[in-house]
């Protein structure tokens, strides 16, 4: 787990950090037995990660929040059936991924133009905002099955067998989807970066013209 939302996870060897908190397996067992405080702790611990996965699979921020909510509800309703045969995080990411894919399917039934699904109304000119929009635009151009595999590998940090388990596809398919998804994403990010530079140049040019008009 490499991103900012990382949480201590004993299963990944982060023993020092995990020692300070109750581990996932114990909390999951307690939650499965009906302990609401344990479930609440788990949800609070993983809400950011669930949201991150949904955000990158769904791409649109509002839809991602809806998918996150659906995922957390699904976890609440399904925790009693979690049998501990897989890591809690693997089960959690499967739920999150399914919620995000369900949200995509719901959205596909709504006749909405692609640009309207992205957060393009944000003002340009801010570097961070432009970079975020570039990532969203690039992700939106990557086929869903490739995008999902890349998100689970490069954002959720799952290994190939875990991704195969989450997506229910063979290992070779996972490797292929990740390779092709990364390639597509890099190409799109390059394109979006070039497009962003063009937009920035146009904004500067427009500002210079407006200022000249104003001074005249």
């Amino acid at each position: 787990m490499r991103d900012r939302g990382r949480v201590p996870d004993r299963a990944r060897g982060d023993d020092a950090a995990a020692a300070a908190v109750v581990d996932d397996a114990s909390l999951a067992a307690a939650a499965a037995a009906g302990a609401r405080p344990a479930l609440e702790t788990l949800l609070e611990r993983y809400a950011d990660r669930v949201h991150a996965i949904c955000r990158r699979i769904v791409v649109n921020s509002e839809d991602a929040l809806d998918a996150t909510q659906e995922a957390l509800i699904a976890i609440t309703r399904g925790i009693g059936r979690f049998d501990g045969r897989s890591a809690f995080t693997t089960w959690l990411y499967r739920v999150a991924t399914n919620a995000a894919l369900d949200e995509l399917r719901r959205r596909s039934r709504r006749p909405v133009p692609l640009d309207a699904t992205l957060d393009l109304e944000s003002p340009s000119g801010e570097g961070a905002v432009d970079a975020r929009l570039d990532v969203d635009r690039a992700l939106a151009e990557v086929p869903e099955e490739f995008r999902t595999a890349v998100v689970l590998r490069d954002l959720a940090d799952l290994d190939y067998p875990e991704i195969a388990a989450v997506l229910g596809v063979p290992l070779g398919t996972v490797k292929s989807r990740i390779a092709r998804g990364r390639r597509a994403l890099r190409i799109e990010l390059g394109n979006q970066s070039a497009a962003s530079e063009r937009r920035t140049a146009q904004n500067v040019e427009r500002a210079v013209v407006e200022r000249a008009d104003h001074e005249r």
Partner: protein
């Protein structure tokens, strides 16, 4: 090596900022409201019928009788202990502040069948807190009893491990450790009361169904 570097670059590009606290709390609260217990307006109230209906209630009464028997045994077997009357009224002996990871049941397994027994150790025995009408009243009773007892730890060992709820370990109640144990009647329902810190640092009292060990009510203690 070059591939690994590209992976990190993609990971950095894909990183998503954390949710703001309000949004996260709202999402969690909404999800928790979908909990099977939370869905029923009377679920958290004392005397509410748990899944299992009358059978559950009957098991609860049976468990209360077992607890009574344990209490009686402690009274009989600890006549030399000046605190025995109070201590023996607690349903179980003290649990250990040991690692929850090692003491709680494996996910998906029947906790009281497959899980290792919870190690008894020092904790405050609250005894029977009597009948209380609400969770807040239960919190007040616990606070008063803790102050009266000076949070004096009880002796380790004893028949307390017979209590299934304590044997499940603190994590089963959402606690990091169990610092105090007692019983009470919440409304009309007999409950086991476990007290301890949560992973978030709150000092929480948890009222459990003696039969199923399901959480009936929680109350945050002050101080």
């Amino acid at each position: 090596m070059a591939d690994a570097q590209r992976d990190l670059e993609l990971a950095a590009a894909l990183a998503v900022p954390p949710l703001d606290d309000l949004t996260r709390a709202r999402l969690v609260r909404t999800a928790i409201a979908e909990h099977p217990d939370a869905g029923r307006p009377d679920a958290a109230r004392p005397g509410a019928t748990r899944p299992g209906g009358r059978l559950g209630a009957a098991l609860g009464v049976a468990a209360a009788l077992v607890i009574g028997a344990v209490i009686g045994t402690l009274v009989v077997t600890r006549p030399d202990d000046p605190e025995s009357t109070t201590a023996a009224r607690a349903p179980v002996s003290s649990p250990a502040p040991s690692s929850p990871a090692s003491s709680s049941p494996a996910p998906g397994s029947p906790a009281d069948a497959a899980a290792p027994a919870f190690e008894p150790a020092a904790a405050t025995l609250l005894g029977d807190l009597g009948a209380v009408a609400s969770a807040s009243a239960l919190g007040d009773a616990i606070t008063a009893r803790l102050e009266a007892a000076g949070e004096r730890p009880a002796a380790p060992g004893g028949a307390g491990t017979a209590d299934a709820c304590v044997a499940r370990g603190p994590a089963a109640a959402g606690l990091v450790v169990i610092s105090a144990i007692g019983t009470a009647t919440l409304g009309t329902a007999p409950v086991v009361v476990l007290v301890g810190p949560t992973p978030r640092g709150e000092n929480l009292a948890v009222a459990l169904d003696p039969a199923s060990c399901a959480v009936l009510e929680t109350v945050t203690l002050q101080g």
